[in-house]
Symmetry: C2
Amino acid sequence: MKSSAKFYHAGCPVCIEAQTVVESYLDTTKTDLEIVHLGEAAERLPEAEAAGVVSVPALFVDGRVLHLNHGADLTALK
Amino acid sequence: MKSSAKFYHAGCPVCIEAQTVVESYLDTTKTDLEIVHLGEAAERLPEAEAAGVVSVPALFVDGRVLHLNHGADLTALK
């Protein structure tokens, strides 16, 4: 089954750079990719936190969270 | 031209988890992937530093560095 990846970000410059890499090099034959802007979709903060995301940008895939550099802590988005 | 990605690590648990994700989901039709263990290949520390790597695990691709979570600072490997 194809897995589902989520890229959480907040529109920050660090986020945009990481998004460029993820969109360019994530193998979308193996996983779908959803881009979630937590600054605009604050209702999804609990979902991100439950996944283990503590800062953005972050990529969640296969139950694992990769924090990609550091743009902003999730607490700064509340 | 196919680009060349490098995954720098030091064998730490955080590194291994990140490596699992990178090896599973990096689109290798677009980039080659070289795994570099900086604990075993200390002679490559200058190359990693020049690329902008400050901690491992880190993925270098297209001139960009993504630090994937935090295992160890490069200074700890010297």
